[in-house]
Amino acid sequence: MNAEHQQFEELLESYSLDLLDLEERVFFEQHLYECPECLKIWQSYRQVLSRLAFEAPPVELRATLKDDILSGLGMYDGDSSFPSLTIDSAPAAPVLRPVPPEVRRQDDVLFRRIPLFAALAFGLIAMVWATSIQGERTRLWQDMTSANATATTLGQRVNALSGQVNDLQQENAGLKIEGGVNGKAINFIAAAAVLDIKPAPASRENPSEPSGRIFFYPENRDVYVMIANLPPPPASKVYQLWLNQGDLNIPVQSFATSSDGTAMFHFQAPDDLSRFQKTIVTIESDSHSQHPSVQIVLDGPH
């Protein structure tokens, strides 16, 4: 770790100032999240850079702006935040709530906790989605884009999941699960970007064509991917998702779809998704490909 740390330490300032090229940044971040020393220095630079905001000369701010902003909050309110699942007649459905800050351990693992909260909610959505009949799935799929996705009769499925949820709770001090008859909703924050990826042109008109949807949360660069109608990969092959920017293709995640053609997974993007031209899914021979094959099954512009 120490030799590696020294090699990366020199990049800390350039990284903090957002100067690095994409490749360097991806490379550096892999180290940053594993190195408490670098993380600590980076946080100190973040603090310094935030104070640079005070260098800007004061400017008169429109007095009515505050009301405009506060009255717009309703779009993102409580249970209507995307994609919230409202569970009717759900006995003892678990509710995920953030633990008060004082309970949390302040250590370097903190970066990995947020996705878990979303991932649990994501898991629930995914489970519903994967086990629904086709019509239901299509409807839910459409609802995903609206602010409020509602699914009924989820109680049993939620209960089935609660065992898993409890296991996860053991590992994650950042979550608290509250059961009880009043527990009805699991919130997901609104995605800043929802992107669709489509099959390569040849098969685009097929009604049961494969498709994917990507939910991006820029605050921590969390990305959730849902894939549908994509048959399981051929024997000894995997699907691989890439972020593309010109000649650069960053391998993000390999995955297989289940027998119903679906797959869901989460990853943390190396950068704002808008900085990539598109997302690509290819078929690869193994999960360690560093360059995409020519066989593109899905792609989509950002």
């Binding site: 957002d18 973040r46 260098e55 909050l73 921590n220």
Partner: protein, 192 residues
């Protein structure tokens, strides 16, 4: 001296209330920080309307992420300013990608320094003191280092773009950035 804006504990408490859907707490955070957010956005974008949109989007993002904040970041101000600056830089990069509108809506950089009625006298004093400290800190940097900070932080240029503009090697950009940030941290941490 009273240093209300620097009180991270208070900010974290307010964010905990925001996480419980408390709009009043968000309103308090807005009162504390909207001016600096707006000033930064105007400094970077030079356009009042776009700067207002950045303020709006910044506080909406805080609201949308309210359940995630505490697990994510220990400190509020770096998080807030990080969101603001990212939005501004993304806007700048979009502008650069649209050559026809390069000068789009650049307002005059003359600023109106009006007395701010929504700040308490102590808050006003703290804010102008912080402004003085940060400017003095930047003044202490050698010109060539300050230039790199200006181009990187306020104009969102990549290291390549900075190297091209200043006609210096990439390695020199990195070195200047490194020296600048180390020095700036030393100066500001001793005054802040």
């Amino acid at each position: 001296m009273d240093e209300p804006l620097k009180d991270n504990t208070l900010d974290i408490e307010l964010m905990a209330d925001v996480a419980m859907d408390d709009r009043k707490a968000l309103s308090v955070l807005y009162d504390r920080y909207s001016r600096v957010v707006y000033a930064l956005a105007f400094r970077i974008l030079g356009n009042q309307q776009q700067a207002e949109e950045i303020v709006q989007e910044t506080f909406w993002r805080i609201w949308r992420s309210r359940h995630l904040f505490q697990t994510q970041r220990g400190e509020f101000l770096p998080w807030l300013i990080g969101i603001t600056r990212n939005l501004c830089i993304d806007e700048l990069r979009k502008r650069r990608a649209r050559p026809s509108s390069i000068d789009e809506g650049l307002d005059t950089q003359e600023t109106l320094q009006l007395p701010d009625t929504s700040l308490s006298p102590a808050e006003q004093a703290w804010e102008s003191e912080e402004r003085r400290r940060v400017r003095a800190g930047l003044e202490e940097l050698p010109e060539e280092q300050r230039e790199v900070i200006e181009l990187a932080y306020f104009r969102g240029l990549s290291q390549r773009e900075i190297a091209e503009r200043l006609q210096i090697p990439l390695g020199t950009v990195k070195t200047r950035a490194r020296l600048a940030l180390i020095k700036l941290r030393d100066i500001l941490e001793s005054t802040g």
